[in-house]
Subunit: 86 residues, 2 copies
């Protein structure tokens, strides 16, 4: 079965987010003074072949730990959606 | 009213995604041969004060066009959630 996985990688609380801080500092200069708490993370989308949703989720979790995220400074969340057979 | 906005920025179809391509090439070396179509984008989360949801969405869209995304090569989608009053 084929699944689409979507992984959201965000900074752990307390870890500096320089991209978010830079955007937050830039916004008032563009006239946007009503925006706060800007955080920028990455989103990984991929297609995975697996026996079932649990197997897909387990493998994506392992891939996050090994390659997609840095568990020392980042948190990740995984959404799995089954793709219609083609 | 305060809203949380979540902006997903992805590459437009046909635009090279070097980060995704690099991860896709790295996965087989780690033993993951059942993964394809890896795409990596960014996600921006922020808090915005606005009169209503439509105003928040309109302003975030304008911010995407001006700063958060590059409309020439990127697409973006916006989700707005009302935050409980504090």
């Amino acid at each position: 079965m084929r699944f689409e996985a979507r992984v959201d990688v965000t900074h752990l609380p307390g870890i500096a987010d320089p991209q978010g801080a830079t955007v937050e500092r830039a916004l008032p200069a563009l006239g946007y003074t009503n925006v706060s708490e800007v955080h920028i993370g990455k989103t990984i989308r991929l297609v995975i072949d697996a026996a079932d949703e649990a197997a897909a989720r387990a493998q994506v979790g392992e891939m996050c730990e090994r390659l997609l995220a840095n568990p020392v400074i980042e948190a990740y969340s995984i959404e799995i959606t089954e793709l219609a057979p083609t």
